[in-house]
C-alpha cells in the first residue's frame, strides 16, 4: 500500500485512473473513511472514455487525512499476442501538481484478470 502526503491547506485533491496495455477495463473506486469501513465515495467506470476517469476528492481538503483510496479493476486484454503487458495507474494530484502515483503492472493473459490498488492519504 502506498502512502501519499498532501498539504491540508493546499488546493483540491484529485485522483486519476489510467489503463494501458490495450485492455478493456471496468473499475470501482472507493474512498474509505479513516479508521472506518464507511465509504465516503463509491464510483464505477470503465476505460471506454478516459476523460471521465478523474475524480475530485471531497472538501475540505484536510478531511481526507487518513482516508484510503481503493481502485478495483477487472479487465480483459484485447491483443495479448502483440501487447504483452498491462499497467494500471492511480495518480493523486493536488491542484495541477502530481503528488505521486501507485501502479500495478503485469503480463496480459487474454483471460479475465484483476487488479487492486490502495493509496493511503496523509496530511503533511
Amino acid at each position: 500500500m502506498k502512502t501519499i502526503e498532501f498539504d491540508p491547506n493546499g488546493p483540491i485533491l484529485k485522483v486519476n485512473f489510467k489503463f494501458s496495455g490495450f485492455i478493456l477495463a471496468s473499475y470501482t473506486y472507493t474512498l474509505w473513511e479513516a479508521e472506518s469501513n464507511h465509504k465516503v465515495v463509491y464510483e464505477k467506470g470503465n476505460n471506454q472514455n478516459p476523460q471521465d476517469d478523474s475524480y475530485q476528492l471531497p472538501m475540505p481538503v484536510k478531511a481526507n487525512d487518513g482516508r484510503l483510496i481503493q481502485l478495483r479493476t477487472e479487465f480483459l486484454a484485447q491483443d495479448p499476442d502483440n501487447v504483452k503487458k498491462y499497467t494500471i495507474t492511480a495518480e493523486v494530484y493536488q491542484g495541477d501538481t502530481l503528488l505521486d502515483k501507485a501502479e500495478d503492472q503485469g503480463d496480459n493473459t487474454g483471460s479475465a484478470q484483476s487488479s487492486l490498488i490502495f493509496i493511503k492519504l496523509k496530511a503533511s
Binding site: 478493456l24 470501482t28 471506454q48 478495483r72 480483459l76
Partner: protein, 363 residues
Amino acid sequence: MKKLVFILSWLVTTTLLAQSPEDTTLVKNFRLDFAVPDMPAFKMLGTNPSNILRPSSPQALSLMISEFGGGDELILPKSFAAEVAPYILMKSGSLTLEDYDNNSSLYSLRLSVGTNRNPENNTTTDVAVGLRMTLMDEGDLKNDGKYRKHVYKLLDDKATLKDEYQMEYLNQNNLIMADVAANPNLRAAMDKYIDEKLKSEFDQRLDTLKQGFKARNWNKKKLDVAVGMLGSSPDSLAKNVEFNKFSLWSTYGAPVGKNSQLLLGFNYNYFSNDSTEYGVTSLTSRLYGGSNSYKGFGELQIKRDENLESNFIYMALGGEINIKDGIWANISAGLERNWTDNNSAFVSHFDLRFTIPEKLKLF
C-alpha cells in the same frame, strides 16, 4: 520432384496423426486472425507463382525464409523477409484503448523488407520493401462495439460483486479496510474469501461470450491493401539498388457457408528498366477450409503479361501447418499454363514462417 512428393506426404501424414481432439472446435481453431502472415516484400521477390496476398492480422514481428523449392528441385533457402508492425512495436505496453480506437488502421500497418539472391549467378541480389494495411475487418473482436459493451457489463458486474464480498468479509471478521490493505496476510485472506465466493462463474461467462462472438465473426468480411517495390543490386551487399518493379495488391475475404472462406485478390505489377516498360495483372481466387492450425486451400489464378503478350492460368492445391508455437510451414504445388503459347509447367513452393511465439514475452 521425389523430395517434394515426400515432403507433401510427410506433412499430410503428420498433420492427420497430430490432430488432437480439441482441434475439432471450429471457433477455437479457425480464428479469423490468420496466423501466417503474407509479406508484400516476400511476394515481390517472386518466389511463389501465386500473386494473392492473403489478409492477416498484424504481428509485432515476423520472419519468412524460402526458396526451398525452385521449380521441381530442392535447393537451399535464398530468400528472406521480415515484417514489423511499427505502431505496435512503438507503443507496446503503453497502448491505451483510446490510442487503438483513434489509430486502428495505423495499428494494422506493417512494413516488410526482403532480399533474394539470384541462384544462377549467386551475386545479383533483389531487395524489396512493402507496406500493407487492413482497411476493413468485420470479424475482429477488437472492433466490435457490441462485444465490447457486453464485456464491460460483465467486468462491471464482477467488480461490483467483489466489493460486496469484500464488505461481507470485513464485517464478519471485524476488520477495518485500511488495516487489511496494510497487511499482506490479511489481504491475501480477504482475496481468497472473495475468490471462493465468486467461484469462476464470471470467467466462464466471459469465455462463453468471447467464443460466441468468435463463432459469429470468424469468417466475416476483410479487406487488405498493400504496395511494394523491388530493386536489384549487382552485388551481394545490396549496394546501388535500382528499383524496377512496383506492385499493388488488394485482397477481399468473405465467408462461404459456415466452414470456409473465399479470398479474391487483385495484383498489378509495373516493370520498368532501360529498354522496356510493361505491366502484369493477376486475378486470383483461393478457397480455404480446415482449422487454424491445419488448413488446406485450392487456388485459381488468371494472369496477363503485357511483355510476353501472353495469358497464364495457374491452378494449385496447398496447405498450411502450424508446426510449433510461432513456426508455420506453407506448401503448395500446381500447374501454370501459358494459354497463348500452349506451354505448361509444374510449379511448387515451400516456405517457413516465424512469428513471436505466444508464450514468449518480449515486450
